[in-house]
C-alpha cells in the first residue's frame, strides 16, 4: 500500500497545516543541532587540530585504509561462504526427511540465538586448539567463522521464507508435470525465490559489514573501528573525531553496497515474471518469520 492512500489529497487548509508542522519540526531539529554544535564548539571538540589529520594522507594510509581493507575482506569472505551454506541449510529445513530437517533446524536456531561476539571468541579458541592456522591469520579466521555461522543461519531463514512465500500452485504444478523434488527446487522454486530474497540478503550484507567491528576490541582483528581508536591515541584526544570519520566511512560503504544491490535486483527482475512477492528487508510478508533484522 503506498503512503498516499493513507491521507486525502491536500486542500488549502491541510496545506497550511502542513506548512506549520514543517516549520515546527524544522525549528526543533535546528535547535537541537545548534545546541550540539555550540556545546561541541565550547568544549573544543571542533578545534581544527583534532580534525586536521583526516585531511592529510597519513591518517588514511596508516589507519583507515588498512582497516577498511580488513573490514571489507572479512565481510566479503563471510558473505561468499555464508550464502551457499545458508541456502543449503534453508533448503534442508524444508526437507521431507526428518533426519535432514531436524539437525538443520537445530543448527539454525542455535547459531541464531548466540551473540556473534561469543561465537567469534569460541572460534578463535577452536582454531588455536585444533588447527595450525598461523597467528597472523587467526583473528581473520575467527571473525569470518563467527560471522559465517551466524549469518548462514540467518540466510537459511531468508531462503526458507523466500521459498515459502511462493504460491503453492508453483510446487503443485511442478510435481504435476512429473518433476522430481530436487528438480522442482532447482528449476522452479529457487529461481523465483532468489529475486524475492534479494532485499533481505542485501540488508544482511550490511549487518555483516557492521559486525566485523565486533572483532576489533576482543580479538585484535585490525578492522576499521579498532584502527580508528589507535589513530585517536596517536593524534591526541580526538576520539570523537575519529569515531565520526569511521561512522561516515561505514555509512558510505554500506550505502554503496545497498545501492549496487538494488541496481542488481532491478536488473535481475527486469523482464521476468516471478510469482514471489519481494520480501521486505526486515522480513514482512511471510508468516514463518526470518531474521534478517537488526544486529
Amino acid at each position: 500500500m503506498s503512503a498516499s492512500v493513507l491521507y486525502e489529497a491536500q486542500g488549502p487548509r491541510a496545506k497550511a497545516r502542513n506548512v506549520i508542522y514543517t516549520a515546527v519540526f524544522l525549528v526543533s531539529v535546528a535547535v537541537l543541532l545548534w545546541w550540539v554544535y555550540t556545546s561541541l564548539d565550547e568544549k573544543g571538540q571542533l578545534d581544527w587540530s583534532l580534525w586536521s589529520p583526516f585531511f592529510g594522507s597519513e591518517a588514511w594510509t596508516t589507519y583507515f585504509l588498512p582497516g577498511l581493507k580488513n573490514t571489507l575482506l572479512a565481510a566479503a569472505l563471510s558473505l561468499v561462504i555464508a550464502l551457499p551454506l545458508g541456502a543449503v541449510l534453508g533448503i534442508a529445513r524444508l526437507s521431507d526427511h526428518a533426519w535432514v530437517r531436524v539437525p538443520a533446524t537445530v543448527v539454525v536456531e542455535f547459531f541464531r540465538a548466540i551473540p556473534v561476539l561469543i561465537l567469534m571468541l569460541f572460534c578463535r579458541e577452536v582454531y588455536v586448539a585444533y588447527t595450525g592456522v598461523s597467528s597472523d591469520a587467526r583473528p581473520l579466521y575467527a571473525v569470518v567463522t563467527g560471522l559465517v555461522l551466524y549469518n548462514a543461519s540467518v540466510l537459511a531463514e531468508v531462503v526458507r521464507a523466500g521459498i515459502l512465500s511462493l504460491p503453492k500452485g508453483q510446487s503443485e504444478a511442478a510435481l504435476a508435470i512429473g518433476l522430481r523434488k530436487n528438480q522442482m527446487m532447482r528449476m522452479v522454486l529457487l529461481p523465483q525465490a532468489v529475486t524475492a530474497m534479494l532485499p533481505a540478503i542485501v540488508s544482511q550484507i550490511v549487518v555483516i559489514v557492521k559486525d566485523t567491528a565486533l572483532g576489533g576490541y576482543m580479538l585484535a582483528f585490525p578492522e576499521m573501528l579498532s584502527n580508528a581508536t589507535t589513530a585517536s591515541s596517536y593524534y591526541g584526544a580526538n576520539i570523537i573525531a575519529c569515531l565520526t570519520v569511521a561512522a561516515l566511512i561505514f555509512i558510505v560503504v554500506n550505502f554503496a553496497l545497498t545501492s549496487f544491490a538494488s541496481w542488481l535486483e532491478k536488473r535481475l527482475r527486469r523482464g521476468k515474471k516471478s510469482t514471489g512477492v519481494p520480501l521486505a528487508p526486515d522480513g514482512g510478508v511471510d508468516q514463518s518469520g526470518f531474521g534478517a533484522a537488526a544486529n
Binding site: 561468499v80 551457499p84 585484535a220
Partner: protein, 279 residues
C-alpha cells in the same frame, strides 16, 4: 529471461571462484606464516599507548618498542626481521601460551598470578599506578581523596580493579576499552582523573595536543614492575635478561628513557636490576 539466467549463473560462478581462492590463499597463509620461522622474531607490543608502544604513520614508537628492538638486536635479529604485533592486555598470557609471539614488551607488570602462566625477564622499568588530572586541579593529595572523585580507566585493567577493591571502593569508576576515550571526559570535567601506570599517563600528557592541559598527581599507588613476558620454560628468558643488563650498562636504556619520557617531565625510577621486583 536468458540474460537473467546468465547473470545469475555467472554470479554463482564468481562466488564459487572467490570461495575457492579464499580457501587457497588461506592454505598458503598456513605454510608461510608459521611462527618462529627462520629470520623473523615476533614481538607483542601495545599499539595505542603513546610513549610506550604506539603505531604511528612512521612505524612503531615508544619505550617498549625501543627495548624490544634492543633485545631483538642482541638476540641476533636486525630491525627488519622484527615483526610487531598488537597484544591487548587481556590477551597477553594467551598469546605467549599459543606461541603467537616470541616475547611481549607491552606495559606488562610482573605479578604472582601472571608468573604462574608465563615467565618474565627483567624487570626493565619500575612504574607506579598514578593519576592524570587536569593541570589546574590540586584537590587530590592522597589515595583517600579518591573516594569522592570520579575516575576513569580501562575495562578490567589491574588499575581499575585496584581502585575498586583497595584504594577507593567508594569512588565512581567509568570504564572504557581504551585510555584515549577517558581523555575526552577528563578534559571536559566529566571525570576527575584517569588512573593507570604513570609511564602510560606520561605518554598521554606529553602529546602535542595535550601539552599544558594535564599533569600527573604524583601518587605512588602501587609498584608496577614491567617485565618482558616469554613462554613458560622458554630459554629466551636468560638471553633477554642478558640483553637488558647490557642495555642498562651501555647507556642505551638511559637514552631510550630520555627520548620517550623526556618531553613528559616524567620522573622515572632508575633502571631496576634484573630480578629485583619491588612489591
Amino acid at each position: 529471461m536468458q540474460l537473467r539466467k546468465i547473470t545469475a549463473a555467472s554470479a554463482a560462478v564468481v562466488a564459487l571462484a572467490l570461495t575457492a581462492t579464499a580457501c587457497g590463499s588461506g592454505e598458503k597463509d598456513d605454510k608461510g606464516g608459521s611462527e618462529g620461522g627462520k629470520g623473523k622474531i615476533t614481538v607483542g607490543i601495545k599499539f595505542d599507548q603513546p610513549g610506550l608502544g604506539q603505531k604511528t604513520p612512521q612505524g612503531y614508537a615508544g619505550f617498549d618498542v625501543d627495548v624490544a628492538k634492543y633485545v631483538a638486536k642482541e638476540l641476533g635479529y636486525s630491525e627488519g626481521q622484527i615483526e610487531f604485533k598488537e597484544s591487548k592486555s587481556q590477551d597477553r598470557e594467551n598469546m605467549l601460551a599459543r606461541g603467537d609471539v616470541d616475547f611481549i614488551a607491552a606495559t606488562y607488570s610482573i605479578n604472582d598470578e601472571r608468573e604462574q602462566k608465563v615467565d618474565f625477564a627483567g624487570p626493565y622499568l619500575l612504574a607506579h599506578q598514578d593519576l592524570l588530572v587536569r593541570a589546574d586541579d590540586d584537590s587530590i593529595k592522597s589515595a583517600e581523596d579518591l573516594n569522592s572523585k570520579k575516575l576513569c580507566s580501562v575495562t578490567g585493567s589491574t588499575s581499575a580493579q585496584n581502585v575498586k577493591q583497595k584504594l577507593a571502593p567508594k569512588a565512581q569508576l567509568q570504564e572504557y576499552p581504551t585510555y584515549s576515550a577517558c581523555l575526552t571526559g577528563l578534559q571536559n570535567g566529566a571525570v576527575d582523573a584517569l588512573t593507570t601506570d604513570d609511564s602510560i599517563l606520561a605518554g598521554y600528557a606529553a602529546q602535542d595536543s595535550h601539552k599544558g592541559k594535564f599533569k600527573l598527581a604524583g601518587l605512588e599507588l602501587s609498584n608496577e614492575n614491567y617485565g618482558i613476558g616469554v613462554k613458560e620454560g622458554s630459554d629466551l628468558k636468560a638471553k633477554i635478561n642478558k640483553a637488558l643488563e647490557k642495555m642498562v650498562s651501555d647507556g642505551s636504556w638511559e637514552k631510550a628513557v630520555k627520548a620517550n619520557f623526556g618531553p613528559a617531565n616524567y620522573e622515572y625510577e632508575p633502571a631496576p636490576s634484573i630480578g629485583d621486583i619491588k612489591k
